[in-house]
């Protein structure tokens, strides 16, 4: 499926890939395209770095807040939008607090959870708690149906799909029953010291407490106890999100750069997604150096050009040829990397390359140029034509 079709047909789109390949800007451009198509979209970044804000030139975007790019803002940046675009950065703390507030009706118990020292640890990314918060957020957004499309900018992935594996990991970690034997009734009661332990877990606990100290074990025990009633809800929502991501409503996009050293990682991620029935719909190879127009082998033109370049003609000609040769070598290296990336993926996958832009993307205008490159490849800037030539089509 092409990226354009994903934006039009899906309810959830996920931008995934190794670090530094441009997942955030691709996610942002998908959001813009949705606005151009008249769909109400939200781009949500899970990555704690400020890249979405940077890419959009929004220095004021704070975690947890939602910023709406209205039609005035979009058209000022040259985006022919027919809908607004919302952007937001995940605030894991706030999501967790909201979940606890929704799920725990007893105010005393709610307070005990929120004030528990372990709760803050959870919010500070305990065993993927941030990733889990993303899953809760997806569930929340998806079930409210406020948006036609939610585009997720995910954290860098090497070893597969860590943020989709987070619920299992986290639920395992917080599973009270798993510790029952280990921590034992003595510790769960939180009254008795280590010395009184006479059951089989006591030995293990003594060894472990040499690592962590006994207070940590006590806190863990009391927290898993408080949390035990909540796990079923967590599990259900995680299962709903998983099923949703496996359904036709979600589209996974693997983003990579034209770098042969990333080919293996991108291929690995692709297969990991497939193994989990999360079929990747498209592969985006970002920032590919366009091939400059080749020079004629016959060198007669050189003498004429040297002449026209004037007094320093020889030096200028040499410099011009050197710059051309460097860009050509970079383009060839990128083309070779592209082949390596294609070879690491199944033949059937849908590939799209994005030419390296002049300059970085750090405002809405830059993001609009990327959108055109991705979705209107006939337009200037998005051209895959040789450098120096531009094609125009009616839609630009």
């Amino acid at each position: 499926m092409s990226l354009g079709e994903i934006v039009v047909r899906k309810r959830i789109a996920l931008s995934m890939g190794p670090g530094g390949v441009g997942k955030t800007t691709i996610a942002g451009a998908m959001g813009l395209q949705a606005a151009v198509e008249g769909r109400r979209a939200l781009v949500l970044t899970i990555d704690p770095a400020m890249r979405l804000a940077d890419a959009l030139g929004l220095s004021s975007l704070k975690p947890g807040q939602r910023h709406v790019l209205d039609s005035a803002a979009l058209s000022a940046a040259g985006v022919p939008a027919r809908a607004e675009l919302a952007v937001s950065m995940l605030d894991a703390d706030r999501t967790w607090q909201a979940v606890i507030a929704r799920e725990v009706s007893d105010p005393d118990k709610r307070r005990m959870i929120l004030e528990h020292p372990f709760f803050q640890r959870i919010c500070d990314d305990l065993a993927g708690a941030r990733d889990y918060a993303a899953v809760e957020e997806i569930h929340h957004l998806d079930s409210r149906g406020e948006f036609d499309l939610v585009v997720l900018d995910t954290p860098p992935t090497v070893y597969g799909v860590s943020f989709l594996e987070a619920p299992d990991r986290l639920l395992g970690v917080l599973d009270h029953n798993a510790y029952r034997l280990l921590l034992g009734p003595a510790l769960l009661a939180s009254k008795v010291g280590l010395r009184t332990w006479s059951f089989s877990g006591g030995y293990v606990i003594r060894k472990l407490s040499r690592f962590t100290g006994i207070e940590f074990l006590r806190q863990l025990a009391s927290f898993t106890d408080l949390f035990s009633g909540l796990l079923e809800g967590f599990r259900q929502r995680a299962a709903t999100v998983k099923a949703r991501l496996r359904s036709g409503a979600a589209g996974f996009v693997v983003v990579t750069a034209a770098d042969s050293n990333l080919a293996r990682e991108a291929g690995y991620l692709y297969r990991r997604l497939q193994q989990r029935d999360l079929s990747p719909e498209a592969v985006i190879v970002n920032r590919v150096t366009p091939r400059p127009t080749p020079l004629q082998a016959d060198g007669a033109w050189r003498d004429e050009l040297r002449e026209r370049l004037g007094r320093d003609g020889e030096r200028w000609l040499e410099a011009l040829e050197r710059a051309h040769a460097t860009l050509d070598a970079l383009a060839r290296r990128d083309a070779a990397a592209l082949e390596a990336i294609k070879a690491s993926m199944p033949r059937s996958s849908s590939f799209q390359t994005v030419p390296l832009m002049d300059g970085d993307i750090h405002d809405l205008r830059g993001l609009e140029r990327l959108r055109r490159a991705l979705f209107d490849p006939g337009c200037p800037d998005g051209s895959d034509a040789p450098a120096g030539e531009t094609r125009r089509t009616g839609s630009c």
Binding site: G20, V173, V204, T212, L305, W316, A323, P386
Partner: protein, 307 residues
């Protein structure tokens, strides 16, 4: 903070850590620095953590295990995973493998270990510091995770010292932190590309690591810089009057020069924001980035980078 410009000073350290935004070429720079150290006859260990055996691949080797293996004479590679580090560490603590199995290979204990804050980082760093201090190598080079996770990893020992109760975990953390914050034997180096986001991340990371954490910083390596072959002034031919190959050259020159201009602007911003010695390394465009390119990059580092 002194700004040392001599590579030999850097290579006299026992531990070099390289971090920076994802995709800037940390791994390539680690490999090139390792070759520089080899050329200075130092015995080197290249270490990677949490990644997928990128370093051997750069040296043209396909590797399955986690090492240590030899990449070149006097240059070894190792991949340190939390599981590997845990086993090594726990074995030292518990002495007996049967006890290790009884305690650490229990499923509930494995789960439990995931909730101990910063444990994975502490274990990996502990293993690394052990390798630094054991004396088998003159220099250990760590290909650290990218900016945010990299800083969190280096900060983990301090967090544990401040929050964990006394015990072997906090003792271990103190021992690691001492190594990481010793300017005589450790230097944390930042790799950047001369682009908007890598440069802003490097400036922020520099303040965080130096001012907040007190780590000894080494060099900034500005990777993949284009050389400027042009004489001064504008190209003495306008795009309107060109034809054929001249047009192709002018078009390429326009793209090339706009990249040079951006590069220059971001280098100035980097130098204004960071008081470390910043070395510009050339873009190596010939062929795929492999063993030959690393040699070229190492030579560029030795000769002081680009003018």
């Amino acid at each position: 903070m002194t700004t040392e410009r001599d590579i030999s000073g850097l290579l006299q350290r026992r531990l070099l850590v390289l971090t920076g935004k994802g995709g800037v070429g940390k791994t390539s720079c680690c490999a090139a620095l390792a070759l520089c150290a080899r050329r200075a006859a130092r015995r080197v260990l290249l270490a990677e953590v949490f990644t997928t055996r990128r370093l051997p691949a750069l040296f043209g080797l396909a590797v399955d295990g986690d090492g240590p293996i030899s990449l070149r004479p006097g240059l070894d590679w190792i991949r340190i995973t939390p599981a590997r580090a845990l086993e090594t560490y726990a074995m030292q603590l518990l002495k007996l493998r049967t006890i290790y199995r009884a305690v650490f290979e229990q499923r509930s204990v494995q789960r439990f270990l995931q909730v101990v804050p910063s444990l994975a980082e502490i274990l990996v760093l502990g293993h690394l510091v052990h390798l630094v201090q054991r004396g088998g190598y003159d220099l250990v080079i760590l290909d650290a995770p990218s900016s945010g996770p990299g800083a969190l990893m280096l900060e983990a020992p301090r967090v544990v010292i401040e929050t964990a109760p006394p015990g072997s975990l906090s003792d271990g953390a103190a021992w690691i932190h001492k190594q990481l914050s010793d300017p005589a034997s450790t230097a944390v180096n930042l790799v950047v590309l001369l682009e908007e986001l890598p440069v802003s991340e490097a400036i922020a990371l520099h303040h965080r690591l130096r001012d907040r954490d007190g780590f000894p910083l080494g060099w900034i390596l500005a990777n993949r810089c284009l050389a400027d072959p042009f004489p001064r002034g504008a190209v003495p031919l306008s795009a309107e009057e060109c034809e054929g190959p001249a047009c192709a050259l002018l078009a390429a020159a326009r793209i090339y020069r706009s990249r040079l201009a951006l590069q220059g602007r971001y280098f100035d911003r980097l130098r204004a924001g960071v008081d470390l010695y910043a070395l510009r390394l050339p873009e190596i465009a010939s062929g795929p980035f492999g063993p030959e390119a690393i040699e070229q990059l190492a030579s560029a580092i030795e000769s002081g980078g680009m003018p």
